[in-house]
């Protein structure tokens, strides 16, 4: 029983929240930056990506869908500057 408890304890990992500033660059660079960062993150971590290319609102979710990552939220945060926020929960890499 003690062994089992110890094993369970060692596998619990605190999920980390990350941020990526992909503003003022144009697609597909925000997708590439997101891809390259996500590939380094463990499953379950979350990532907020800020972009000013409105195309990112379509492209980053598409990349996440085909690569098994979850889109938590994707929305325009500032219509004047085209700023968008895409929140991702990292799946299995």
């Amino acid at each position: 029983m003690n062994n089992k408890q110890a094993t369970t304890k060692s596998t619990v990992r605190k999920q980390t929240h990350h941020k990526l500033d992909a503003r003022n660059i144009l697609c597909p660079l925000p997708v590439i930056r997101t891809q390259n960062l996500v590939l380094t993150l463990p499953e379950g971590d979350t990532l907020d990506v800020s972009c000013t290319d409105p195309g990112a609102l379509c492209d980053i979710p598409a990349w996440c869908r085909i690569n098994g990552h979850e889109i938590v939220e994707a929305r325009i945060t500032d219509p004047d500057t085209n700023e968008v926020l895409i929140s991702i929960r990292v799946g299995k890499n």
Binding site: V31, I32, G55, D59, W63, I66, N67
Partner: protein, 350 residues
């Protein structure tokens, strides 16, 4: 137990690579996509900049194709390495500054490195013999195989039947009989195959997928190299060549004039790097000054800025000049007479 064979497919986002990938997926091979970003790719940049293009769908076609096919897509940034392809193409340029054959050799070489690193078996492309004048000819196709190092691990499913057998065919990883023998510039066989495969929606890029095939773009790049005295570029250089109206009144400086709100907003991102001019008495463009200018040059730049403002017919237009002095910017105001259109020499326009 039969080994699951794995292929990487070069996905451009167009129909041919989509069909080639589907043909191999349908034979039970595990396929993933790879897409290379050179900095000159047409989609991505342009759609996001101009306000008038806001209504156009803002999808990345390569990602869209991958999603339709249900495959993973790896987008690889090759901006730095690709410079050598553009600057020193072994096989030369096409009708503009497009090094198509060197480009294809380079991309297949990168894909070959990728399959070796990721334990994949072969490479697929959507090439068709005779489809393109430079990179897709019967005599250049073996060049790509040889110079990329991929040799017979490179399979072109759409024209495989009229090419020598490749490793995946010889080993029975794919059935050659189920591949195709397309040949020539026509699109009918591809469109018919798309219908047969149930593919109804696909991208049809009118001007190709690379800015280097565009004459106006190539002229601007050639001008950049000539005036700088060296054939080199940074990502910002090639991005700015895609935006605005470019005028070179003197060999040592040029102006980049935003044509509409979307471009002005994009150019705003470069304000800290360049001396720039904005009309303040009338609505007008943001103008970046690329080069070092003296008082006389500044007047030319300010008068051109006024010309492209809504005060172009006014006697005087007030502009704000933000001169870059090292790491700081100095702001002054000037009242200038806009150029008359007939006074702007046509050779100033790039």
């Amino acid at each position: 137990m039969k080994t699951q064979r794995k292929a990487i497919s070069l996905i451009s986002g167009g129909l041919d690579s989509m069909l080639a990938t589907k043909a191999i997926l349908d034979q039970g091979v595990h396929v993933e996509g790879i897409n290379f970003y050179t900095g000159f790719c047409v989609e991505g940049h342009t759609h996001a900049i101009r306000k008038k293009d806001k209504a156009k769908p803002k999808r990345n076609n390569a990602l869209w194709v991958a999603e339709q096919l249900g495959i993973k897509l790896h987008i690889i940034d090759i901006i730095e390495e690709y410079k050598d392809v553009v600057i020193n193409p072994k096989h030369g340029y096409g009708s503009n500054l497009n090094p198509c054959l060197d480009c294809k050799c380079f991309m297949v070489k990168k894909a070959h490195e990728w399959i070796q690193e990721n334990d994949f078996d072969f490479i697929i492309t959507g090439e068709v013999v005779g489809q393109r004048p430079m990179s897709q000819r019967r005599d250049t196709m073996p060049v790509i195989q040889r110079e990329s190092g991929a040799e017979d691990r490179l399979l072109r499913p759409l024209c495989a039947k009229i090419l020598p057998e490749t490793l995946p065919e010889r080993e029975g990883w794919v059935d050659r009989e189920q591949l195709f023998g397309f040949n020539g510039r026509g699109r009918k066989p591809q469109i018919a195959l798309a219908g047969k495969m149930g593919i109804e929606d696909y991208a049809q890029p009118a001007g190709g997928c690379c800015f280097l095939t565009d004459a106006a773009y190539s002229n601007k790049l050639a001008d950049l190299w000539t005036t700088r005295g060296e054939r080199d570029y940074e990502l910002d250089d090639i991005m700015l060549l895609k935006v605005g109206r470019h005028l070179r009144p003197r060999p040592h400086f040029k102006l980049i004039v935003g044509r509409e709100e979307g471009e002005n907003r994009f150019l705003e991102g470069y304000r800290k790097q360049f001396t720039h001019i904005i009309p303040i008495s009338h609505p007008g463009p943001l103008v970046l000054v690329d080069g070092n200018i003296n008082e006389e040059d500044l007047e030319i730049a300010a008068r051109l800025t006024a010309r492209f403002s809504q005060g172009k017919k006014a006697a005087s237009v007030r502009v704000e000049v933000h001169s870059k002095k090292g790491d700081t910017t100095e702001m002054t105001e000037m009242d200038v007479t806009p150029y008359r259109i007939e006074d702007i020499p046509t050779e100033w326009y790039l």
